[in-house]
């Protein structure tokens, strides 16, 4: 059991857009400043900073954690950059949590940034080099391949139809209409998704989140510090993370065992026995629409193969019984990789403190979960927040 209780006291984010003028430093600053202001504190009170950012190949800076540090408020502070591929955005506050829980820090700023537009002609190119250099890259690999291969296997295992999966894109893009930072909010239909341009079958254009520039941040602190600011703070209830083997072609991709493990780690810490009833709403990772379903199952929020049914029946809508991605997710708000994961954590904070405005879910919420996924279909990070 952790030695100290940890609270979340503020959140901030920039616009998510395909191209922004701001440098990565400037984006990091904007999000961090907003998070500190929303917490009602200044950088003086921050004693450590954790930054999350995905491959250096996007921003085009080697050791980009170092480069971004002053923008992230880390000048003359204890500072780390953590990196677990696409799972980085939700992992960053996890790492910030152990800074405070261990007693090494009282106030830790967690910042996530991505400036993908720097890479030309298209940011997708960076993903070629996530594959094994000896025996995969020569095939001309792309990130879309692995999504398509996993999606196909998932559909095959449970007899799921593309139309069912497309409902996730419809829901999330619609939810994003209420998000002030959203890049791809839209009112679309399942038919629009089905008719959109095929990319790597079964993945079509509207199944996919866009590349983006953006940043997001939250402030974590000890319970003692939080109690000085508010009577009713938001607590970090559970953290989990897990990695599967690098040999991704040696397992059945239909089910994310690593996510089940990460979820169990977080549930154990949070004292959650039945996630389906004890988690009030969740921001699960949705870079592609089927991933939301895949992740709901890995998190035990749905039985294997049953997440599509929960979607079809409206359970996962904002006014449903288990709202999933009320923010609009990556599909609607955009996907500046690490910042997108952190955006989900920000959404937990906004929902739990009733600051989500038009996005506020209908039911009363006390416990929210954010999750992200990454590496070569092998990593998950889970962050659970709770308020009285």
């Amino acid at each position: 059991m952790p030695k100290r209780k940890v609270c979340v006291i503020g959140a901030g984010l920039t616009l998510f857009r395909r191209r922004l003028l701001e440098t990565g430093k400037e984006l990091s600053f904007e999000a961090s400043k907003m998070a500190l202001e929303s917490a009602g504190i200044t950088r003086k009170e921050v004693d450590s900073v954790v930054l999350g950012s995905a491959p250096d190949a996007f921003d085009g800076v080697h050791m980009k954690g170092e480069y971004l540090s002053d923008g992230a408020g880390a000048y003359r502070r204890a500072y780390s950059r953590v990196f677990v591929g696409g799972a980085t955005g939700v992992f960053t506050p996890v790492s910030a949590w152990w800074h405070v829980a261990s007693g090494m820090s009282d106030v830790c700023l967690a910042v996530a940034e991505e400036k993908m537009s720097t890479l030309q002609p298209h940011p997708a190119y960076a993903f070629w080099s996530i594959f094994d250099h000896d025996y995969e890259r020569p095939l001309g690999t792309t990130l879309l391949w692995i999504f398509a291969l996993e999606m196909r296997r998932y559909m095959h295992a449970h007899g799921i139809k593309e139309e069912e999966i497309a409902q996730v894109a419809v829901k999330n893009k619609r939810n994003a209409l209420d998000h002030p930072c959203a890049q791809l909010a839209a009112n679309i239909t399942v038919d629009d998704v089905m008719k959109s341009e095929p990319m790597v079958w079964p993945v079509k254009r509207l199944d996919v989140s866009p590349p983006s520039d953006g940043a997001a941040a939250i402030v974590l602190c000890s319970e003692e510090f939080a109690k000085k600011l508010t009577k009713d703070p938001v607590y970090v209830a559970g953290c989990g993370w897990n990695i599967d083997s690098m040999y991704w072609t040696d397992r059945d991709l239909y089910y994310p065992q690593y996510l089940e493990n990460a979820g169990k780690m977080a549930y154990k810490m949070a004292g959650i026995k039945n996630p389906r009833t004890e988690i009030d709403f969740a921001e699960v990772y949705d870079p592609f629409d089927y991933k939301e379903l895949h992740h709901m199952e890995g998190l035990q929020l749905a039985k294997k193969g049953e997440a599509p049914k929960l979607t079809t029946s409206g359970v996962t809508q904002r006014d449903g019984e288990l709202p999933i991605n009320p923010s609009g997710g990556l599909l609607g708000v955009g996907n500046p990789i690490a910042a997108a994961g952190m955006m989900k954590v920000c959404e937990l904070y906004f929902q739990l403190t009733h600051q989500a405005g038009k996005r506020q879910v209908k039911k009363e919420v006390h416990t929210g979960l954010a999750q992200a996924w990454g590496d070569l279909m092998q990593y998950s990070s889970v962050f659970i927040m709770r308020r009285r």
């Binding site: 616009l15 857009r17 997708a124 398509a148 291969l149 998000h179 990319m199 953006g214 397992r251």
Partner: protein, 171 residues
């Protein structure tokens, strides 16, 4: 926030802004070069491809036959024990049809991509490769396939020494 914060920072640029001089841009063409030591396991794997064979490693504790080969068993955390030749046939574990390439450009001809579980290795053990000599509509999960090798004199010890996998002809 949505209620309290009225302004979210970020100055959006037009798609052409980086190219037409609207904003100043520093361009950097990097091309870092590497010469990765393949090591004992993958070195042998690639060398054997040159010979037209696929090689695996076996762990005598869990008795799994591992491909791509590795000198350690990640489940048992111990040295793997022996080299085992596996077949150059297998079955499609999963597949997709790629219409876009590495930098998101449209491909003129779609590429068929598959994870092939290799015969002779343990269940699900295999690697990523391409499919050929097959129509899109005929590709199925579980379909039996066989490697189509490059001519011997064109092989260099590369995963591309296998041109692609094609359906096994049924008798």
């Amino acid at each position: 926030m949505s209620e309290k914060v009225k302004y979210f920072p970020g100055k959006e640029l037009r798609p052409e802004a980086l190219d037409d001089g609207e904003v100043l841009v520093t361009r950097y063409l990097a091309d870092p070069k590497y010469d990765w030591a393949s090591g004992v396991a993958i070195g042998r794997f690639l060398n054997e491809l040159k010979n037209g064979r696929i090689i695996a490693r076996k762990c005598n504790k869990c008795e799994r036959i591992l491909v791509p080969p590795r000198m350690f068993c990640e489940d048992c955390f111990r040295d793997t024990d022996e080299w085992v030749y596996v077949k150059d046939t297998g079955s499609i574990n999963t597949y997709s049809i790629a219409h876009v390439g590495t930098d998101a450009h449209r491909l003129s001809e779609p590429l068929f991509v598959a994870v092939i579980s290799i015969d002779g290795a343990s269940e699900l053990m295999g690697f990523l490769h391409l499919l050929g000599e097959v129509l899109e509509k005929d590709i199925k999960i579980g379909m039996k396939v066989q490697a189509v090798w490059k001519p011997e004199n064109e092989r260099v010890g590369s995963i591309l020494d296998i041109k692609y996998f094609k359906p096994v002809e049924m008798n």
